[in-house]
Symmetry: C2
Subunit: 548 residues, 2 copies
């Protein structure tokens, strides 16, 4: 399916083959309208195939040290009646207090990785900002704890309850309100699914400035609440720059309307920034204005193998320099991650044999010929310099999707075992992959890793957004095991703190990292954060037991 | 000096001339190392030539309704002794309490436009974060009001005192600490001059993500404190996205150290965002980490005349589409603005005759040939479609600088009369220029505008960053006049509010817009902002009488 262009041979017989790099058989630009692979939504896929064997332990059993805060009220039949009356019926209220609705509540109580399971008896699905405001006001007055929930695709347990918190699921607020085709500003509800928004934009020649594997399920509100980074950050920057406007509801029901659709607006403190990455702890995002870039007419994807992490770094430097303004992604995958995707999906691999590392490069530009020429020159160069060992370039959209799937399917495939300890971290580039090697060694020394069933750890895998110094360290396990966790934590966090990295690059803190914030933030800053939390949510009802 | 390529003739004789557009005589890429015009620092230039006739009225005379807040202490000789001891001598302390230092104090008390003049008797120049912390702690304990000051190039009176506030000038904290040539992250003091930082980066193949006319004087700390937008926002986005890390000192002396140098760091609330655009009202920024993009190998500048604002909009749409990823600026200038620059500077104009509007386009890319081809095709297209009437393309760096100076000199040249009422606003693009026309008409109806000395208003001028819907409305006056101000305000603000624009796009609020925030923000949001101010600065010592 993907042309096997043995670039290593090109290198060895330069006269004959290098000339061919520029030919149609190596490089073909294609329409970017939907070039990125649309993986099946992660939660759906996993819950179908693994629901039975993966019923998560209750979070309270996994973390018995977390105690329910007695200041919170317990839900009463009267409360449920209030919400039913407010939201008008069954569609918007899933009631586990009066009715037996265990199965209906399950998807809202549990994360898709089956690592966290809460005990909520009530799910509310507001249909408007006013609904959200009324819900929060009531909960704040009655001291009922709540968990805001988007697509529930998070990786740190931030979007599911722990005890009996009320789930406020934003799925019904999913309207796209307007789009300005000159300025590129998109106005939409927080509950819109990212992929739906991106497809809407594709039809208008624009692109959502954020892209990530869970795009088929995640909500844009959740993306903003967790300050998701994803695959396009290298090119389009962070949501702190691309979110132009926001409407959010504070715990006391106050609606903060800052729906500015302009790129420049310096009229006082930019309060919405606190909600970007605030993980639903100081309010619920209900509407957004997003600055969307134009969709590129031409997209190219190249996938190649390199002999070492050192060479991957060299390839990145060359790509930045030579591809400049058209470089839209530079992704890294290690050997083990690609073996796992191959084992689970059974598809033919893009390159023959095994390479220690793989890189995926995407270019997006307005002129296919120009982009081809730049990419061709770059590839020729990294071959000549022996930076790259072997590689392929996608011809057309379906091949580009196929190449992307080798990167985007890692998260899903690695989850097919008993479980995964996931670390999403930022580390200065030179040392980025050393963490994976050190963790692998540590697991070996502790006798925790191996092919036999007795070893809890089956693989230590590293991949991520090399362009952003963002590594995903995944420790795949046959079963969750306290010994593994003890070997990993605080080791991983200490390792990162020593290198001034971030223990939480793009996945957020949630429950998973609540106790480790001090590895990336000093006490003063943590104190200032708690001040903000107390200012907006003095009763502490918003997403309790998590974040900071 | 600039080649007169009468593109209008090209249009009329397409067979002969269009072919020439691509030739070296029309388009030449040049090194981008220092392509942008480095105008002489604005404040220095004006204070030299106009200091005598332009001694500003005291701000307290202009705005007698502003009263000194009695809660603030008055400076004593003891206070001055404390600061002299703390900062060690004369270089760091300009003392108007004990010594007669009127002339020494003047540049710190007055803005460069001679519109605002304060009465501070003490200027402190800290040399370290510790100094800043000690100064603020002392002032906070003693209830002494302060004004943080960078390059004092602001346009809204935000960086000068009103009464006897102590000026904390950051000019001595001007070190560049480090630069990572792989990731592009720059660590520097807040008091670094923007142009110095940009030149440092130029030597390393990088560029500061912000550029503006006052670059020769303004401080990066002031840029961040006012969330300056400038000429490159269209390409590199806002400072909310490009400031990676910050160190700031709170009013009580607490040092908030969030000097993260990584692109992704989701570890709690992003507090530094409140200081971006906070205008020194909740703390003083002392250090920064900036994400810097690579400098483009090729930069082209084109300058053309169009018949109407409608056509300028069409040209912008075409530029966005056809130049895509290489478009780095799209600036608009009206006819009057260019006449004024011509009158003051006396230089030959880039185009013959008068055109109702002028546009300046800049492209920045990694491949000069590709960029030339794109720009050539774009120019051919806008000529064929009769969107553009006449134009020139810079050949080489000095011509590019010269073309830029027709845009960048407007601010300086228009200030050569008695004064300027300046409005920096965002308006949805379709209506952006109508504000200038409506204000001009209003001035005419009121008999306030004319060529004779009796008319206070000499010109109503519009220009700005069209790519960001950001208009600079300038009303040039022979003398400041209450009648003009009454005709302008709240008219301008009401006009903008009706169109959901922003009354403060990139210059900030300062003193000038303090009373007009409600035209762009609702009461709820203003209330939330005041809450933040009170949280961080309960004694209100930071930059009082301004902002919100």
């Amino acid at each position: 399916m993907v042309t096997r262009s043995r670039l290593v041979q090109v290198l060895r017989a330069p006269n004959r083959r290098i000339g061919a790099i520029g030919s149609a058989s190596f490089l073909t630009s294609h329409s970017a309208a939907s070039a990125r692979c649309f993986v099946t939504s992660v939660p759906r896929l996993l819950s179908q195939s693994h629901a039975a064997q993966h019923l998560a332990k209750l979070t309270t059993d996994t973390y018995p040290e977390i105690k329910r805060d007695a200041k919170f009220a317990s839900l009463t039949a009267e409360d449920v009646a209030y919400f039913k009356n407010l939201l008008g019926g069954d569609q918007a209220v899933i009631d586990g207090v009066n009715a037996a609705a265990e199965d209906d509540l399950k998807p809202f109580n549990e994360d898709w990785m089956h690592k966290y399971r809460g005990q909520s008896r009530l799910v509310l699905k507001p249909g408007s900002t006013e609904d959200v405001s009324n819900i929060l006001k009531y909960c704040n007055d009655k001291k009922l704890a709540v968990v805001p929930q988007g697509g529930n695709t998070g990786l740190v347990g931030g979007s599911v309850p722990i005890f009996d918190e009320i789930v406020i699921n934003m799925g019904r607020m999913n309207k796209i309100h307007s789009f300005d085709e000159v300025s590129g500003s998109l106005v939409l509800d927080a509950g819109c699914i990212l992929e739906v928004a991106d497809q809407y934009l594709a039809e208008r020649g624009y692109i959502f400035p954020l892209d990530l594997g869970a795009k088929g399920s995640c909500h844009v509100g959740g993306n903003v609440a967790t300050n998701a980074g994803g695959l396009r950050l290298l090119r389009y920057g962070s949501l702190h720059g691309t979110v132009l406007g926001m409407e959010a509801v504070l715990p006391d029901g106050t609606v903060m309307n800052d729906m500015c659709a302009l790129r420049k607006n310096n009229t006082g403190y930019d309060l919405k920034q606190l909600f970007i990455g605030g993980e639903g702890t100081i309010g619920i995002i209900t509407k957004l204005v997003i600055q969307c870039p134009q969709r590129s007419a031409a997209v190219n994807v190249a996938f190649f193998g390199v002999d070492s992490f050192k060479k991957a770094q060299l390839a990145f430097r060359e790509a930045k320099q030579q591809l400049g303004e058209i470089l839209s992604a530079f992704e890294l995958m290690d050997s083990r991650s690609q073996q796992i995707v191959h084992e689970i999906k059974g598809e033919e691999r893009p390159l023959e044999g095994d390479h220690p590392f793989y890189c995926l490069i995407e270019t997006s530009g307005s002129n296919g010929d120009h982009d081809n020429e730049k990419l061709e020159k770059f590839l020729e160069d990294v071959l000549t310099k022996e930076i790259v060992t072997d590689g392929v370039v996608a011809q057309g959209e379906s091949q580009a999707k196929a190449l992307w799937s080798w990167r985007e399917s890692i998260t899903e495939c690695i989850g097919h075992g008993g479980g995964v300890y996931k670390y999403d971290v930022s580390i200065p580039l030179a040392e980025m992959y050393s963490l994976v090697e050190d963790v692998r060694e540590r697991m070996g020394e502790a006798g925790l890793i191996g092919d036999a069933e007795e070893h809890p750890v089956s693989a230590v895998v590293g991949y991520g957004h090399m362009g952003d110094s963002n590594l995903h360290l995944n420790v795949a396990v046959r079963r969750y095991d306290a010994k593994v966790e003890e070997a990993l934590e605080p080791f991983v966090y200490e390792w990162i703190a020593k290198r001034n990295g971030s223990i939480s690059a793009e996945h957020g803190l949630g429950l998973a990292k609540k106790n480790f914030v001090n590895y990336s933030r000093n006490d003063t800053v943590i104190g200032l954060m708690k001040q903000i939390k107390n200012l907006y949510d003095p009763n502490g009802i918003m997403n309790p037991y998590k974040y900071i």
